[in-house]
């Protein structure tokens, strides 16, 4: 049986492995998260109530404002942080935040990655590969 592997157009960070937290919804650290408790807190978000700590977030697009550029660093420093961010479409803020925090992020796929990766699946993300990818283990 061949592993499901999906290649990304852009990537940064280090190779990680973990359990996916996936939904067809956007992402903003300010708008969507209770960063103290480490859960999605925005009532309208499809992951509301879910803990994101250590999970590989698989979401549609970056949303909201500029705060995530600092917040990923702050979340990483406190150790309550996703393991990686996998997006159909990134915006500059997510890229800038990931660059500051040395955080793993990949984006841009031929398929809708939120539908391709099942919520709870064990996955590997490798931004260091010649063709960066997310793979279902």
């Amino acid at each position: 049986m061949s592993a499901k592997i999906f290649y990304a157009a852009a990537a940064m960070g280090r190779k990680v492995q973990g359990r996916a937290l996936a939904a067809s919804d956007g992402f903003s650290a300010r708008y969507d998260l209770d960063r103290i408790r480490g859960v999605f807190s925005r009532p309208e978000h499809k992951l509301v109530g879910e803990s994101y700590n250590g999970r590989i977030l698989v979401l549609d697009a970056a949303k909201g404002g500029v705060a995530t550029a600092w917040m990923l660093y702050e979340m990483t420093a406190r150790g309550i942080v996703p393991a990686a961010l996998v997006l159909n479409r990134a915006n500059p803020i997510m890229v800038q935040g990931a660059a500051l925090a040395d955080f793993t992020m990949i984006s841009g796929f031929d398929v809708d990655i939120t539908k391709a990766i099942a919520n709870g699946a064990e996955v590997e993300v490798d931004p260091t590969a010649a063709r960066p990818f997310i793979r279902v283990l």
Partner: protein
């Protein structure tokens, strides 16, 4: 990315470790987003509220601020977005000493880097509006979308670390909205009912933002029957950026790059078109009103209020009395004029409070809610209602007049 000789020298550390970090950060970002080179920018604008920075971010800034002066100063005018408090009213807001300590430390660090603490998200109304074609590194989504769309300037969303980097290097990676190719419309919105007040302009912005869905989409609006004012476009843009991460819009016949639809729709292309009318605006407002009978607090913020908005608010409050907390948040540039012209006194005589240099959602909104018992909030800012749900509020989107009426009726919504 292609680097000039000076950029290679900065990257090699010849201008100190902070500028070396800054250009390294910019190269990482530029490589990810496909930039081929750098573009010089005229100004940088840094969002650095301490709720976002946290203790780790403040310590990060302080480490750089301790460098020798010649290694730490920004090279171009670099200004700031709102802070996390108005020190004069921190006790009234029940903000805690540790929050104020982080704020003071951040201000000291940024000042040591040569940053001007303007503390505003309406710098395009108060500090220096950018010029068409001018490249900037602005760090507030509302500032970026207004500057790109209404002024015809060129900026991407530059988060705090990247805006600071631009201040230190005087340049930013050339991708996204610095390039002609990204400034064309990607979809059209036919507006059948021109919004009548600021909250409706914000609601329209929210709807357009949702239709856009991501940063790389550029809406072109047709059907706007009259030229909106700066405050209307401020609320529209802030909401579109908030709901959809949008950084550029065109209003055909109004904004400078779209005098005609042909100016922004690529030749031979037919773009997807959406229709938006009054029913859609009211549906968005109704969504946020659902099951809210009474509010605990009224807030006018996000973006900070112009002098004209404060004059409108003062006029609505004359002869009335707010019986629940009512806050109007403005910039440190507008506040002295509001004081001088008697607007602050009129608002405060009616029980309101005028806050300066902060923004409500950037000021420990969750902790303020818990300390003050605020759960349900009324505002005329669509951007604010979009943000505050995640902070535990039940926000209602009303007109300024409806908000004032609620504040003077013990919070009861009619």
């Amino acid at each position: 990315m292609r680097l000039s000789g000076e950029e290679k020298a900065i990257h090699a550390g010849e201008f100190g470790p902070l500028r070396q970090w800054a250009i390294g950060h910019q190269i990482k970002v530029g490589d990810y987003l496909g930039a081929e080179d750098f573009v010089a920018v005229g100004q940088a604008h840094i969002m650095a509220d301490t709720e976002s920075l946290g203790a780790a971010g403040v310590e990060w800034l302080e480490r750089w601020a301790a460098l020798p002066r010649d290694q730490r100063l920004v090279r171009i005018p670099t200004i700031t977005d709102p802070r996390g408090t108005d020190f004069a009213y921190a006790a009234r807001l029940k903000q805690l000493p540790w929050m104020l300590d982080l704020e003071r430390r951040t201000i000291a660090a940024l000042e040591a880097l040569g940053v001007l603490m303007t503390d505003t998200c309406i710098n395009y109304q108060t500090i220096m509006p950018p010029v068409r074609g001018e490249h900037m590194a602005y760090g507030d989504t509302g500032v970026v979308i207004y500057s790109n769309s209404v002024c015809g300037a060129r900026s991407n969303f530059e988060g705090g670390p990247s805006a600071l980097s631009a201040g230190l290097t005087g340049r930013t990676p050339r991708y996204g909205y610095h390039l002609d190719a990204h400034r064309q419309a990607t979809f059209v919105v036919e507006v059948s009912d021109t919004p009548r007040d600021l909250s409706e302009w914000g609601a329209l912005g929210g709807i357009v933002g949702r239709l856009a869905g991501d940063y790389w989409q550029v809406p072109a609006l047709v059907g706007i029957e009259e030229v909106p004012g700066a405050d209307a476009l401020k609320h529209f843009g802030a909401a579109a950026a908030s709901f959809g991460s949008v950084a550029l819009f065109h209003i055909v016949g109004v904004t400078p790059e779209a005098m005609r639809i042909e100016d922004v729709v690529p030749a031979g292309q037919t773009l997807k078109t959406h229709e938006v009318g009054a029913a859609d605006l009211h549906a968005l407002q109704a969504h946020y009103m659902k099951d809210i009978g009474t509010v605990d607090v009224v807030v006018f913020s996000a973006p900070q209020l112009s002098l004209i908005e404060l004059q409108m608010l003062a006029g609505m409050l004359d002869g009335r009395r707010a019986t629940i907390p009512l806050f109007a948040v403005t910039s440190p540039q507008v506040k002295p004029d509001a004081d001088r012209l008697g607007l602050t006194a009129r608002i405060e005589q009616a029980g309101g409070i005028v806050l300066s240099g902060m923004c409500f959602y950037q000021s420990y909104a969750r902790e303020m809610a818990e300390a003050n018992g605020w759960k349900r909030l009324a505002t005329n800012s669509a951007k604010l209602v979009n943000i505050l749900g995640g902070y535990g509020y039940r926000p209602a989107l009303l007109s300024m007049e409806q908000c004032v009426t609620a504040a003077c009726a013990g919070g009861k919504l009619r």
